[in-house]
Symmetry: C4
């Protein structure tokens, strides 16, 4: 660990800095998404009336759906990052680079969202959605790796021991988004338009589909604590 | 509450992180506004003299007014966010998503401001101003929801109990901006140009029109504290 | 003071949040400057060789000078903001809005820098440089106001009493940049090209020209402290 | 030292603010890189099929490689900045400006990366790669200067004394990136395409090539500590 060479008085701020830098990247990415919703140029597009503007906007409504989904996904990964590092107390230089790799996949999202938006009306094209889904899968897998790295007991990076059930819960959670997008991409060959609405399932699954696993993890963590208390007494 | 699963030593930073992430989004949005004020391209627009540039700029003066108003509005919502979370000591995952929803409406503001700017000279069009006003209303309503969520006594997210009068004050305050914009939009059908200046009323109302309610809230809060002291003694 | 209504435990973070939000805006502005240096489009400009690119870049060298100066100016105002709030321990809602006004003038800088860059080769035009100089003057004056507001003894926003000499030093310092730009703008009527290099004087004046005043302020502050110690003993 | 004029209670936050501002700039730069990967415009480029999009993307694959390398380099310099200031406990106004100079070179990276991307297919042009390599060398040298400034024992800016071996290690580490790029630029005259892959060597050298020096630095630092302990006892 590099960090051992720094004075202990600096450890907490070094950790916070590392997390706040990630937040900076998240905040910029989530805001840059809106840059891809181009303001329709009145002269280029000959839009000089409300009817013309309305027609343009309704024709490009899929772009807004895409923006909403991308915003939700980056927002989701931010909340996951927030949750993961809520357990963390230390870092290694390996973790810093793994986190940069994760941020790399997040930074690409405004591009692949933009690509999807640009070709939103060409529903016979599969590549834009494929690239977008691939990017989201990459983010999901990096997120999964990040969680396994941070939560691994042998690295001792957490504030307190957590149960294997909680580690598993985090693992499943991080795989929901990639799985749904692989599914949506496959369905897009049959039902191009409908497949765009599939990601709306994600919050449903993450909120209700995980209740059972969450209860189990809570229980196991509680057991672990009581046990520790027994040992301590 | 998810957060209960994190160690107490991390709670404060988790809360700060959540707030600073919001600030990042605010800071980027308020700065991105300026991107919508396009530097007039000298070759495209054949501007090769001060007179030409001046003509262009004065013709687009409404864009600067729009920029000023949008800056003021995002600035205003930031100060409100700052004030709300000055009372907060905890969060729930519901609050995180509610806040993301609020940020979503803020992130859209540079787009709807840009739309308004692009069609600023077409005073016969109502849609751009309508979309802009709708966006601001959305921000106002989300902000109102955020306040009701955080201040709700049963959620116990505040550092100390505040009076119902103060909760009400926050509610009224968050509704001033949407109301003024609905009004301005309606007036725009009669007086397209004049209606653009109506939002200038907002600071007047927020500063002077709320004095009475503020005094009442201060009084009630003081009472609540004395009472508590009486109980404590 | 609104802030009195928040719990004391939150004051420090509320203050830090207010400062870090400003830093976010500064960081974005100073980085957005580079967006105005357009990458020369190879197809539009028929640049297909090193010679062609070199010719283009050397013809637009003034843009790089402008970028350097704008970067230096935003950097300078950040250091001043950093210095001012190094003395601060509290805030008022007036200060928050004054600071937003200051940030407003900073946010405009990438636009007026871009305008200057776009018309850099039209040395017969005075308006772009005029707007740029006006923007910088506005920033300087807002900065001056901010300092007078924060340092005013009757507002009691500082961590410790500072001498009148130090308040004066801050005042003079914040006026150097606007004065130099007014001067440079006036000289631009006689010597358009040379006047662009005048801002290079700013660091010289700020570093060496203020030595005398700084020593005086240090002396007065020392006196004030010893006196206080005498009174305390 | 200016900072001596601020109250001691503010020193830590002033230092943190200075570092977090740098992080803001880093976060924006690393995210702005993606803006240079332009979404191919379907109408301008007549792309209406997956085959057309694929052809376009594969023809511009070098742009993605360039993006990856630039992301890695800004990420690398951020980790170095993070490591350097992990030792720091104080700052001077000289350090603030030196750091701004360093950030200046980082802020230019999205531009020179964009330039490189724009002319990626013109492998007979050396200027874009030359400018890019020069920018990276500037960043490397500024980084080297920053380290020598901060680590210099006579300035007393560190939390604890570090060995000369560690100072040397930091020096060598900061020179690896510029050296590799000078080399890659020279090789680009012989093997234009292959030279683009040379920067991939950087992580290899930084990770494995420095192991010996790192061990030496660790040893020396340990000696220094034991010695201090001897003196202290």
């Amino acid at each position: 660990m590099h960090q051992a060479r720094h004075d202990v008085s600096r450890t907490e701020f070094q950790m916070e800095r590392f997390i706040l830098f990630s937040d900076g990247v998240f905040a910029i990415c989530i805001t840059l998404l809106v840059i891809e919703i181009k303001v329709p140029n009145r002269e280029e597009l000959n839009i000089f009336s409300d009817a013309g503007l309305w027609e343009y906007l309704s024709k490009h409504a899929l772009i807004f759906l895409g923006f909403l989904i991308s915003f939700g996904i980056i927002g989701h990964y931010w909340t996951v990052h927030h949750r993961i590092f809520g357990y963390g107390k230390g870092y290694t230089s390996g973790l810093i680079w793994l986190n940069l790799g994760f941020l790399f996949s997040v930074v690409l999202l405004p591009f692949s969202s933009g690509l999807l938006a640009e070709y939103a009306s060409d529903t016979h094209m599969y590549l834009p959605y494929g690239i977008y889904a691939a990017n989201i899968c990459l983010t999901g897998l990096m997120n999964c790796w990040l969680w396994l790295y941070v939560s691994s007991p042998r690295r001792n990076l957490l504030t307190h021991t957590i149960s294997a059930a909680r580690i598993q819960l985090g693992l499943y959670r991080s795989l929901v988004v990639p799985l749904i997008f692989v599914l949506a991409f496959l369905i897009s060959f049959l039902l191009p338009l409908a497949s765009r609405f599939i990601p709306i399932l994600i919050p449903v699954i993450l909120h209700w589909g995980m209740k059972g696993l969450e209860r189990k993890a809570d229980l196991k963590d509680k057991d672990a604590r009581s046990e520790k208390e027994v040992y301590a007494s």
